[in-house]
Structures are given as C-alpha cells and as structure tokens.
C-alpha cells in the first residue's frame, strides 16, 4: 500500500535516517525555495522529528483506511451477490423480470431497474444543472449581498431536510399540483415517446416525472454549494481585466467565471448525479411500481435500484433472495463508480489543458 509513497518521497517516509539526510541536503543545495510545501518540509528537516513521523503516519493511515474500507464494501457486495447470480435463471443484465419469491427459482434481471434509475437521475440532473448554474452565478456575481446571504443559507438548510420529507412533499404536495400539467403534456405532446401515457395512473403522481423533479430539488443544494465555492474563487484579476476591457456583466461571466469554474461545476454535477442515482426513501415513497415494463415514457412508473432494495430489505429472510438485491446494489455501486470516474477525468483533463 505504502510503496508508491515511499518510492516517490524517500525523504518523508523512509526508514534509513542517513540516506534521508543525504537526500535532503542534496535537494536543499539545489533548490533553496522548493516548489511544494512537502519538499520544503523535507529540506529544512535533516532528520524527521518523531512528531512529524507520527502525524504523517496518522494522515497516511487514514488515507489507506478509506481505500481498504471501500475495497471491503466492494468485496462484501461481490461475495454476497455471487451465489445468487449463479442461481439466476434469467440473464441478469438483459432481463426485465424480477421474481425472488422462490429462492430455488430465482429470476431477476436489472434492465428495467437500470433504465428507470438512469432516467430518473438524468431528468433530475437536466433540471438541476442549469438552475444550479444560474443560482451559483446569481449568488456569486449578480445578487445584492443582503439577498445572497440569506438565500445561500436557505439552500444549505435544505440539506438538513431529511429525504423522507422530500418524499412526502412530492407525494402529497407536489404530485397534485403537477397533475394538470402532466395531463396537459400527455394530451398535447403524447406523440413524443418520452411524454406518452405511461403504465401508471398520472393522477396519483407516482411517475418518473414527479420523482425526477423531487430528486432535482434534492440535489440542487449540493450542486449549487460546490459550484458557488468554485465560482467565488475566480481570480479577481481576471474579472477586473475583463471589466477593464469594457466587457458587459455577461461577457465577464462568459470569459472569466465560466471557463475558470467549468470543471468544478461539472464535477459538482457528477456528485449530484451520484446522489440522484442512490436516492432511496424519497423515490420509494413517490414512485409507483408498475406491472409492465418501462416504456421510455416519463409518465411510467417503476423502481430504481435503491428503491427496489429499500422496499424489499425488511423482508430479507433468505440469503439467496437477499443476494439478488445485493447484486442490484453492486450494479448501483459500479454505476456510481463510473460516474465518479468520468467526473474525475473531466476535471483532470481540464487541469492539463490549462
């Protein structure tokens, strides 16, 4: 685990004191003002103090701990899922069936779950991304100070509202309000497959449409908070430069703030997407399950990975059936993994570009 660190930074974590001293002295003579704080620490410390060693060990240990922990979670999911996957009588990836009642005849596939999960999350992201961008710009560039502060606080406060409240709000408050609008969409734009009449009752509001909007509201604070942080750090010199060149407010934003904060904004959105993919209780409360397969309409019902697991978890009593749900959890885990990897690569690519 520690090898790469040791190899790269012999001065910090090596065991042989003399070697380290030599290396440090060598560096010191070459570069009086080292570029990184890490290097500067090693140069001015011919021998590593015990305090430093302990502290460094603690910090590195915490890093290792988290890596091991995630590994353990992944391993746990795999170990629990494999036996059930072996017993699956339909194709796990392409079947839309989900029947785990009889542990001796498991039939479960994740196609429908994947589609519904992705569609709910994407819808939420599509709604939340532009609005979050707007709010973040508003709060950092446009808003009067006395409006920005309380509003930023309200946004943060929403992180405190538990997801079950969002679920109940979606079901009791938002659903009925959305109903006439949904009906209008289906009647007038129903020829678009995405807005066709779905497999659940629109009046009940248990549709992907409602769930997507509620999840969008839930992830809005996260995306906004992170984007705001990034936009705030746009170098004042860039902004002042643009203003000096006679740019309008919008041009300032377009030429300085957006290019600077783009990567941060995208990775914030990916974090939001990760949250949307894993949202459990709110979706379980709002989204109706349907008996027919997902038909690419926003007015369909269905289950997401997380809601499927949450709805069944209290009745887990056979490891084989439970394994089927854990396998679904594993897919969700991998999906989150991929989304985060994409976010990372976007940010990394952006840095290299600069």
């Amino acid at each position: 685990m520690n090898d790469p660190v040791v190899a790269k930074r012999p001065a910090g974590s090596g065991d042989t004191g003399t070697e380290r001293g030599v290396a440090a002295a060598h560096t010191a003579s070459e570069a009086p003002i080292p570029p990184t704080p890490e290097a500067s620490a090693t140069t001015k410390a011919p021998h590593v103090r015990p305090g430093d060693r302990i502290f460094r060990g603690l910090a590195t240990g915490s890093g290792v701990f988290i890596v091991v922990l995630i590994g353990a979670i992944g391993l746990f999911l795999i170990l629990q899922a494999i036996p059930s996957l072996g017993l699956d009588n339909v194709n796990f990836l392409t079947s839309r069936e989900w029947n785990t009642t009889d542990p001796t005849n498991l039939r479960f596939g994740i196609l429908d779950l994947t589609l519904v999960t992705v569609v709910v999350a994407l819808l939420a992201l599509l709604i939340a991304m532009p609005i979050a961008l707007g709010i973040a710009l508003f709060l950092t560039q446009y808003a009067p100070r006395n409006l920005a502060r309380p509003f930023a606080y309200v946004v943060d406060l929403l992180a405190a509202v538990p997801s079950i409240v969002f679920g109940l709000w979606g079901l009791f408050v938002l659903g009925p309000v959305l109903f006439p609008f949904s009906e209008w969409l289906i009647e007038n734009l129903g020829w678009i497959p995405l807005l066709a009449k779905g497999n659940v009752n629109v009046q009940l509001g248990g549709t992907i449409f409602t769930a997507g909007i509620v999840v969008a509201v839930m992830i809005l604070p996260i995306i906004t908070a992170v984007s705001r942080e990034v936009f705030e750090r746009t170098p004042t010199m860039h902004i002042e430069g643009a203003i000096a060149l006679g740019a309008t407010k919008w041009e300032v934003v377009r030429t300085t703030v957006l290019p600077f904060g783009k990567a941060g904004y995208v990775s914030a959105s990916m974090l939001g997407l990760g949250r949307a993919l894993g949202e459990t209780i709110a979706v379980a409360i709002i989204l109706s399950t349907a008996t027919s397969a997902f038909g690419w309409s926003l007015f369909d019902g269905g289950s997401t990975f997380a809601s499927k697991i949450a709805l069944a978890a209290p009745e887990f009593n056979d490891p084989r059936s439970a394994g089927a749900y854990i396998a679904a959890g594993l897919v969700l885990f991998v999906l989150t993994f991929v989304v985060n990897a994409i976010a990372r690569s976007i940010v990394a690519g952006h840095k290299e570009y600069e």
Binding site: V5, D52, I66, V67, Q141, L158, V161, L220
Partner: protein, 304 residues
C-alpha cells in the same frame, strides 16, 4: 443628413469609452434575466418545501411535552407524547458519528493536501472518497449489518448506526476540508517552516486554524446529512418508543426513524408527529449551524 456628413469620428481613433452595442446589451440582458430566472425558479421549490414543513410541523413543536416526553405507552391514534426519545437518539448518534468521522475525515484531507501529492495512494484515496460519496446509504447500512452483526455477532445498537453514518459522513468532511486546506496560501506554510517549526505543528497550528471556519461549515453540512439519514437507522437500530440512554445496547429512536414509523400511522396523530419530527430536525440543524458560525468567528485567527 448633415449628421451623416459630419461623422469625423469614424475616421479618427475610436474614443476610449464607447457605447455598448445593442446586440451585446441584449445578450447581457438575456443572461441577467436567465440568472435571475434561475434564482426565482429555485426559490419556489426550496421555499415551498420549507414552508410545508413549517406550516405542518410548527404547531406540534410548540407543545412543551414534545420536547420532554417520549412516545412510550401511546397507541397510534392517541394524541400526545413527545419526541424526546428521538431527539436524544438523533443527537447521540450524530455526536458519536462525528467524534469518529471528524478526526478520520480531517486526517484524510490533510494527507491528500499536505502529504499525498500526486502519489498513487493519494489518487486512489481521492477516487475512493468520491465513491464513498456516492455509496447509497442503504448499501452502507447493509454492509455494516453484515460485518457488525453477522460476522462479529454484536447486537444492533445506536453505536452500529453511528458506524454506518461514519461511512456517509467521512467523504463529505474530506471533500470540504480538502477544499478549505487547498485555499490556505502556501506562503503561510513556508513562513512557518522558515521559523523551523515542524511540519505537523505547522499543520495543526497554522493551516487548520486558518481553514477552520470552512472546515466547521463542512462538518455541520455533513452532520446535517447524517442526522437526516433514514436507511441506516432502519436497518441497524430498532425503533424504541421509550427513552433509551444506552448507546451500546437496545433499540433507540431517532427522528428519521420516528418519521418512518409514523408514516404508517394514518391518523391525525401520526400526521402531526411526522411533520413535528421533520421540523425538529431542521431546528436542531439550524442550531448547530448557528453554533458553528459563532465558534468559527470566535476561533478564527485574528487578521488585524
């Protein structure tokens, strides 16, 4: 007509200050409108949710019993009782979780910013923290259930909940702390090293105090998130309608758990308890945020 002829400025150098062209002004207007529009659109659901919670829950928490009594011995349809047991559970579970996750989270962030550099372990850690951010809470709960109860044979308890919450709290703390540590100017660190102060002391005495207010905000956000978590408490601690002070044994209520429980109570009493619990949670977290603001102001390094 004569004005057309008298247009000498076109030939001369343009003046320093020029009127902004119409198209640019229109674009600027549209952008301003959109940004304000986004703000207004966002205000609606955000305020709406809060309004729903306050309107339905506020009358409930005005009752003194709400803050002092448990639900012990009450039938679902009987009015009365309070959320004391759940408030206690939420505070204690959140507190224990914070005690475990704050040091771990901050140490990981310190590792990433101060020690890790571009090493493979640092990259792996960053990536893993991202994954952990996205781990659905129910998966975290099932994981802890398997390890804690199935493998180690330990009982369900508030402590088990706290452990599952740690999985959810650590990544948020790491993310925010990391961002805050990165903003601390290198000059501060270098000045400290120049005075011969060891690295760990520099971090503890210079870097962290400088970033403290941001770190505290992050901790409060993380605490807000875990205190409202439902799935882990559902799987790992049974609901107790009475007060259980014991962290290590027995079922313990918490506010989200109380809401899940009362969700399946179709009477007026259940309805009131759900929204009462919701607003109680929001009030608690607001108090924490205020506290954090006060403390970070008090402890922030004096700049003058």
């Amino acid at each position: 007509m004569s004005t057309n002829l008298a247009d000498p400025q076109r030939l001369a150098t343009p003046p320093t200050f020029q009127a902004v062209s119409v198209s640019r002004r229109i674009k600027n207007g549209i952008a301003t409108g959109l940004v304000w529009g986004a703000f207004l659109i966002a205000v609606i659901p955000l305020v709406w949710v809060l309004y729903t919670v306050i309107q339905r829950g506020f009358p409930v928490i005005l009752d003194g019993d709400w803050w002092q009594k448990s639900m012990s011995g009450l039938l679902a349809r009987q009015q009365g009782g309070g959320a004391y047991h759940a408030i206690y559970g939420t505070l204690v579970q959140g507190l224990v979780c914070a005690v475990i996750s704050v040091p771990i989270g901050i140490m990981i962030a310190i590792y990433l910013v101060e020690y890790g550099g571009r090493s493979k372990l640092a990259k792996a850690t960053t990536f893993m923290v991202d994954i952990l951010t996205g781990v659905p809470s129910i998966v975290a709960a099932l994981f802890v259930y398997t390890v804690w109860i199935t493998y180690f044979g330990l009982g369900r308890s508030a402590l088990a909940v706290s452990l599952a919450l740690v999985l959810l709290m650590v990544p948020v703390i790491v993310r925010t702390t990391e961002e805050m540590l990165k903003i601390v100017p290198d000059e501060l660190r270098e000045a400290s090293y120049a005075l011969g102060i060891p690295k760990w002391k520099t971090i503890v005495k210079i870097v962290i105090p400088t970033a403290l207010s941001g770190i505290l905000t992050g901790i409060m956000l993380a605490l807000a998130r875990v205190m409202g978590e439902t799935a882990p408490v559902l799987v790992l601690a049974a609901y107790a309608p009475f007060i259980n002070y014991n962290l290590f044994d027995g079922p313990m209520a918490s506010l989200p758990l109380m809401m899940v429980n009362e969700r399946n109570n179709p009477t007026q009493a259940g309805f009131e308890r759900i929204w009462g619990a919701a607003i109680t949670l929001v009030v608690l977290i607001t108090l924490f945020n205020l506290l954090a603001t006060v403390i970070s102001r008090a402890l922030a390094p004096k700049t003058k």
